[in-house]
Symmetry: C2
Subunit: 341 residues, 2 copies
DNA sequence: ATGAAAGCGCTAACAG
DNA sequence: CTGTTAGCGCTTTCAT
């Protein structure tokens, strides 16, 4: 079923069919002819061959999306969804490639996507971090949830400093002054860790609270890590014990809940907790539901695709910092009156 | 940078370049010429244009994947990963389209993918269910995590009956006889609900346990639903109260934990719990880690892609039932001795 | 208002 | 062993 078949059926040339169906220049074709063509096309169930069209027009209406482990984390989906929604609304398809964080696979993926003549490319990582731009990336490739070490590329990352500040401010506003930060283990790899810490310190400073180094602890970023870290914190003498805890992520917060329960501490009456990530199926399902900071994955995905499609300008030397909104639920309250502050 | 450029640089025809680079018929080309061509190609940084190649060969080495909400659920990723891995290993790219479960979007997606001349198509749903095959799907489309109401299509779904049986058997084996099934609300929409229930009843029957209707309850499939249902169950008079609970999913199991803790019941000492889904970031992070039944998403994704690529035969009238393995963690133990059974 | 014709970049017979 | 040639199905001037 080719265009020439439709043309024959309608008794016109392929040029006419092309103009009618693509809409371009269809104002030059008489209404009667247009109707005839459309009818013939519909009757034949004709669908244009985009490969042929792409070869001719040099545009595929296709966007390549390279990611390290998009499929593995629940977050991934939101970024993908944002990118996909924008692409769809503008008549583009996305070709997704997963590299499993393997350099060789990444190289091949870039080659394959370039060979496919994708109109633009998105380079996504699942965790906010700095990356060296891989060789062969087409100019204009948009970095998603990672910042290229050298400038010159559009990029979008979460504003983790602001997020850390928001979380801490939420606790300060509730009246807390002994606020712990249960951090991720390795600040080098995890950009987010350092930035959130900065936000935390900033708010303490602006609130006239002297940071207590004992309240900044590091642990594995899972529930077990969070639990262990919080148990240590709760072992501190009463005067130094925190009344509120800001956790690097929701899984650690989940562990914090367990630690509190083991001590018979009620949340938020005895201990306030704020998480990070607003991880679906965790944050809202905890008891009580967790106040946390959301990572704007969907929005970042949208933004990146908008830039890729040329719908939006970008600063190629400074990654866009996307706001991380605080999601208020029920794990924050005033400090217990027994706490001597 | 086209093939003719490479040909000119190497002093040969495009036919020769094509043969050398594609490997096909390269045994007819002298080693010297081959070397010259490869060198010229590498020097020029030549990458073949797959659009032109596809137009000529009528194969795009591209697979369309339509899904309702692949991006939204954490499960999705695993299916995608399985499909993607197989595609990659066989030199294919996957074009992903999300329809948000909207019929109109679905129609357009199918059209777009067909227009792109994808070599094969996967039709995925995020929850195991029966679906009417949408119009326009190319013959041979593989159904993933859903079964077409009319036969004639290859399909793969989780073996939920076996999963329900495995969960129940795990509890029976631990010595329980009063085993509740905390089910999803609507058996019509959720195929899995009915199948797991069947598996549950089967194992009770084969174990000589008379099902107590009071122990089969339904609730919303989130933590709040699970918690409410389990609280009711625990309100039963001691003689009828369950010593073990099989939950429709891990989120409900999370609610079951909360209900148990509220009563001061320890898991698994006072109450055993089995979930379903093996949901990352929940099942393993609960305290104690949850024994649950895993949904074989990754395997289903692989299987579907293998069938799509013609690497594997399939029965087009009976969906493949993929095994749901039980994942043993620490939420199952023998019934408490105080229980009068 | 419509048609003819020239490719887009590649592959695959078929010649030589 | 290598080159010539004829398209794949579409879009787009340029004629008419």
């Amino acid at each position: 079923m080719r265009m020439s078949d439709v043309a024959a059926a309608a008794g016109v040339s392929t040029a006419t069919v092309s103009m009618v169906l693509s809409g371009a220049g269809s104002d030059r074709i008489s209404p009667q002819t247009q109707a005839r063509v459309r009818e013939a096309a519909k009757a034949a169930g004709y669908a244009p061959n985009s490969v042929a069209r792409s070869l001719r027009t040099q545009r595929t209406r296709t966007i390549g999306l390279i990611s390290d482990t998009i499929a593995t984390t629940p977050f991934a989906g939101r970024m993908l969804a944002g990118a996909n929604d924008v692409a769809r609304d503008h008549g583009h398809l996305v070709i997704l490639v997963n590299t499993d964080d393997d350099a060789e696979q990444e190289r091949k993926a870039i080659l394959a996507l370039v060979g496919q003549q994708v109109d633009a490319m998105l380079y996504a990582r699942m965790w906010h971090r700095a990356v060296d731009a891989p060789a062969g990336l087409p100019a204009g490739t948009v970095f998603l949830d990672c910042r290229p070490t050298e400038g010159g590329w559009p990029a979008v990352v979460p504003d983790d400093r602001q997020g850390g500040a928001s979380a801490t401010r939420e606790l300060v506003a509730a009246g807390h002054r002994r606020i712990a930060y249960v951090d991720a283990p390795n600040p080098d790899e995890v950009v987010a860790s350092e930035l959130r810490h900065q936000g935390y310190l900033e708010v303490l400073a602006e609130s006239g609270i002297t940071p207590d180094p004992a309240l900044h602890v590091r642990a594995a970023t899972d529930a077990a890590g969070g639990r262990a870290a919080v148990e240590e914190l709760l072992d501190l003498p009463t005067s130094r014990r925190p009344t509120a805890i800001f956790c690097f992520n929701d899984r650690m917060a989940m562990g914090a809940y367990t630690a509190a329960h083991r001590r018979g501490l009620a949340i938020p009456d005895d201990l306030s907790i704020v998480g990070y990530d607003d991880q679906q199926l965790i944050a809202s399902e905890l008891d009580p539901p967790l106040t946390t900071v959301a990572l704007p994955h969907y929005e970042m995905g949208r933004w990146a695709m908008e830039v890729a499609l040329g719908l939006r300008e970008s600063d190629r030397d400074n990654p866009l910092l996307m706001n991380c909104p605080i999601i208020r639920r029920d794990s924050v309250g005033p400090p217990p009156i027994t706490a001597g502050n």
